[in-house]
Symmetry: D3
Subunit: 239 residues, 6 copies
Amino acid sequence: MKRIDGRAAAEARPVNITRDYLPFAEGSVLFEAGETRVICSATVEEKVPGWLRGSGQGWVTAEYSMLPRATESRTTREVVAGRPKGRTSEIQRLIGRSLRSVVDLDQLGEVQIILDCDVINADGGTRTASISGAFIALHDALTKLKAAGRLSGDWPLTGFVAAISVGILDGISCLDLNYKEDSQADVDMNVVMNSDGELIEIQGTAERGSFGRSALDELLDLGEQGITDLIAMQQSILG
Amino acid sequence: MKRIDGRAAAEARPVNITRDYLPFAEGSVLFEAGETRVICSATVEEKVPGWLRGSGQGWVTAEYSMLPRATESRTTREVVAGRPKGRTSEIQRLIGRSLRSVVDLDQLGEVQIILDCDVINADGGTRTASISGAFIALHDALTKLKAAGRLSGDWPLTGFVAAISVGILDGISCLDLNYKEDSQADVDMNVVMNSDGELIEIQGTAERGSFGRSALDELLDLGEQGITDLIAMQQSILG
Amino acid sequence: MKRIDGRAAAEARPVNITRDYLPFAEGSVLFEAGETRVICSATVEEKVPGWLRGSGQGWVTAEYSMLPRATESRTTREVVAGRPKGRTSEIQRLIGRSLRSVVDLDQLGEVQIILDCDVINADGGTRTASISGAFIALHDALTKLKAAGRLSGDWPLTGFVAAISVGILDGISCLDLNYKEDSQADVDMNVVMNSDGELIEIQGTAERGSFGRSALDELLDLGEQGITDLIAMQQSILG
Amino acid sequence: MKRIDGRAAAEARPVNITRDYLPFAEGSVLFEAGETRVICSATVEEKVPGWLRGSGQGWVTAEYSMLPRATESRTTREVVAGRPKGRTSEIQRLIGRSLRSVVDLDQLGEVQIILDCDVINADGGTRTASISGAFIALHDALTKLKAAGRLSGDWPLTGFVAAISVGILDGISCLDLNYKEDSQADVDMNVVMNSDGELIEIQGTAERGSFGRSALDELLDLGEQGITDLIAMQQSILG
Amino acid sequence: MKRIDGRAAAEARPVNITRDYLPFAEGSVLFEAGETRVICSATVEEKVPGWLRGSGQGWVTAEYSMLPRATESRTTREVVAGRPKGRTSEIQRLIGRSLRSVVDLDQLGEVQIILDCDVINADGGTRTASISGAFIALHDALTKLKAAGRLSGDWPLTGFVAAISVGILDGISCLDLNYKEDSQADVDMNVVMNSDGELIEIQGTAERGSFGRSALDELLDLGEQGITDLIAMQQSILG
Amino acid sequence: MKRIDGRAAAEARPVNITRDYLPFAEGSVLFEAGETRVICSATVEEKVPGWLRGSGQGWVTAEYSMLPRATESRTTREVVAGRPKGRTSEIQRLIGRSLRSVVDLDQLGEVQIILDCDVINADGGTRTASISGAFIALHDALTKLKAAGRLSGDWPLTGFVAAISVGILDGISCLDLNYKEDSQADVDMNVVMNSDGELIEIQGTAERGSFGRSALDELLDLGEQGITDLIAMQQSILG
């Protein structure tokens, strides 16, 4: 069986990573997976959210947005409605949790790092691309902080983290769905894992029908394989 | 090992369901699981969202909110900030998707059913209680629609749906976490299943550290057992 | 003459008060008057509004909301529009003023008490039920503050306060209108009185036509009688 | 006893009415009561609110606002917070109800009249000045509609309406409080009456302490006298 | 050629300035240019925006609004939409920049002056009238500050500032367009100048077609002449 | 004299234009001027704003935004405040007016074209880059509309349009200021011209001091030269 774009079921799209994409950000990449393109940047701020002030602990958070014409038909800017959509909040929270899972916030010290993930073009998998790309921006920002002697503790990263989507299409488990596949999938799952091969987050939804435990296992096998490749790529880039 | 409230690891809290709790709603229940109390109501509206007009298809959606003192310290009303919190949107979307998974929207006809889930007291598991309770409100509303001859097609429900939380506490997998447990858990997972014993949605998060595949399996076993009991209760109530 | 629900013109609906309705709030009741049901809770906060900081004086304020299906047809949540309706603001301000009329804010000390009045079911008289019920929640919260030695002064309550609605229906003055009566009344009045039998607030509106001074007197007589009964009930409950 | 500004207790401030104050509005006045100055304008719109479409009935509504420096210290514009304050909503609703009490909405036909009351300077009694002034703007707008043959029915006004404030200051009942008096009053009441000498609306609040029935009567006597004078002035101006 | 209202091309409308128009503001004028009427008031606040705190420097800013019936057909209040329109922001920023151009913010000391420009009637040129009028309100407020010994430095005004509109109508350059002319003009330009005869701001727009450099020169000649007259008037009033 | 980045006073930054930058938009470019990078896309919508419905006329409008880390220190997303900043509205209006100046809206037919200008990196001149780039996106979208036979009239473009900034730095007139220059300039001006060498819009501001007519002329000479080069580049690209 061949997929819409000719890939095999277990084949992820080619990934391209351009580091230092933005001149001003403390860390930034253009992360491309097939036609999906996301700019991830890391901003270091000296002040933490209110509930952490005086705690000696830092924070990592994320924001996510799409350009209006990242999508096939134009998406209205969220500022027009005056509030982020539910989908946006959900994705922002997922990216933030995923990145915090590999950060020792005590080692970070009272510093906040904001990871901005802006989707230039959306062809499926934008939230998982955001996680995989934001990790590199975060790593680069922390390296600069360390070099500048501004980290209060040791190196705060405890591992690498990446994410990928998997899904069931016409009864077949597929890795890294593009937009067309995603909109036709019966089951759609996002998997986040770290460099120990352990799960950080799993979100699976039956868009049509339902799925059993063995289907879940098959999907997780695929996801694990895709994430292993992504983390290898992160490691080779970051040295 | 005994849990904070004396339960065994695989023991869910006692559930109490009061049907027809609100006089005006087309369907309504007070759903109680331990100290968690949610009022679920179903409203039938003759008009569907814009993208379904003229399609002959119906829609099921959900809204979720908490009373300010459902929580240990008072939570500011969302209207004060002028927008729902990210957490709220995320939960509303989850409840809506879960309920739609057992509704044949074509059989429903051009009718929208809104499931309002208002948390009177929050002691953990409010989103899963909302799903389990909203199903009963939905069932009752559809029964009234059918009796009134207002369903364009056959019976639109294709099964039952319920949900429960599971998590890992001090290395032990537990069913149906209360608030105190939830805030100390290393892994926290919400499971939604239907009456065929199949998964509809699974959302698992490592709040601290990470988790492997075998831990995931253990959690799903627990969840499946809890949901089976809940669906049995729904079936016995709804006849 | 018999009213829609069989009551006499001067007869109020049966009142039912469930104390300590919410486990977390410092004070809380479920206040029921006929089919009207309101959850009133009192929250004690250590910080006062900006204009009182450093004054040694406390504050009492109220918030009011209705569940979407408290009403015959569903009412959209206010957070959807992003702002409270004019009616809500008006009611919140009335409840706050009424409760402050029996509190010596200097005796309270720099503490704010928020009275949340959430209408579970709305069958007329929700704002007056909120006042009568919120007083009990406030009393219970203050009793706890006193017991904990957290009151800077003496007992801050200077009396009891309760409220009821009255109105003219087909030329006849009636006590405690339900929703159906309220929507047909020519004159509609809310009366707030204290345990000295004195007026705190009076808001009367001719919904159709106008009304003379003698009609006003008749309505006030009825209101006074209803409030006397409510305060007696408060006193018997609170000891 | 003399009041702050030398008036007797039963003496209202001098009123000055400038008709046709704005060149574009269908009706407009500058209404001055002492130092309180309000611009009232009437706008006729061919479309009614949704719930009246097709009913053959019209609508009268009001909006109220204050210039930032109408007040002693500058008041932030409501648009900065993004929503009207509770006080504004309350006043707008009062003005609208009061004016509608003298309009036969069936005679008006499907037309909406918006009464904009903009306070240029606020020295107490701005809501009652708005009502008394808006009536003249409304009358002038209706006269133009009639002259243009655009009224579907007969003359829609069923009477005149005016309003004034009364209050208790140091135990003495006073008519038409200015800002300084208003902020020191123990009881503060707004009275709206029509040209039949009947009550349309009464809103009385004990700002400090409480008040008995005889005090209420005394205040209403004063209010009645003040409104009688205002309506005489309206009648002499409008011919 | 005669213009719609009989003026010559180079003739501005008659200007009328009423000082101390509002009793509470530190400085205020009613500025009338033909039928255009703007109330400008200056408020002195002891606190500056965050970025200036501790700098020893002051700030001057402006807000602009129109009454709903300042315009031929009613304009919805901005608070209804919950945010100022783009046009309003643009005008507010222009007024603020123009006034700051003649203020030495270091001499002002850590004080903020807010210039509120509220348009009572809009017949073209409301933003330029706001600038010319706000200068007088600002001057009066500063005079009071100086008299009270509250200016930390010397006199902070470095000159006078005024503004006027110019435009091309049927190929002819005209001074001070009224609303009707403005809506038919091919080119529309606002010019702000100081008492040294130098430009502070110039904003020219081709509403239809385009314009060459010589047309621009002609318009600037007209604007310069109009502003010279306005500044002479300001100087004669302020002594 | 050499400028910060080594350019001569009359030298613009190198421009790079990548056409068809986004796969989904009807027209799109990445427009780079030095370090300033803007993605401009054109979206064709079949529906026009309300006031044009049924007029047979089309509309062209623009939206403008910056990625949070387009700037040296991170800029908060506008959706967080719930409304666009004044600066954004001002720029959007300028881009829209400029592009409409070369479109015959009657030839366009009842179609709306939205030009989204998203700044990826901001090093000065983002609004003028948006105009120059949006023209190309617009041209490409119209070419597609024409090819598809969807234009109701003839070719709706009446010319080319481009824009550039000029300013006075240390007394010297400079072309195309970068961010550092812009923040130190005494006078800052944006010039928009068409392919007939005529002015469409001119916005000049004295950020410090003021400027005379001869300085204005010098700046306009520079701007004209820069725009001539930009339009030549547009013409060579678009053939």
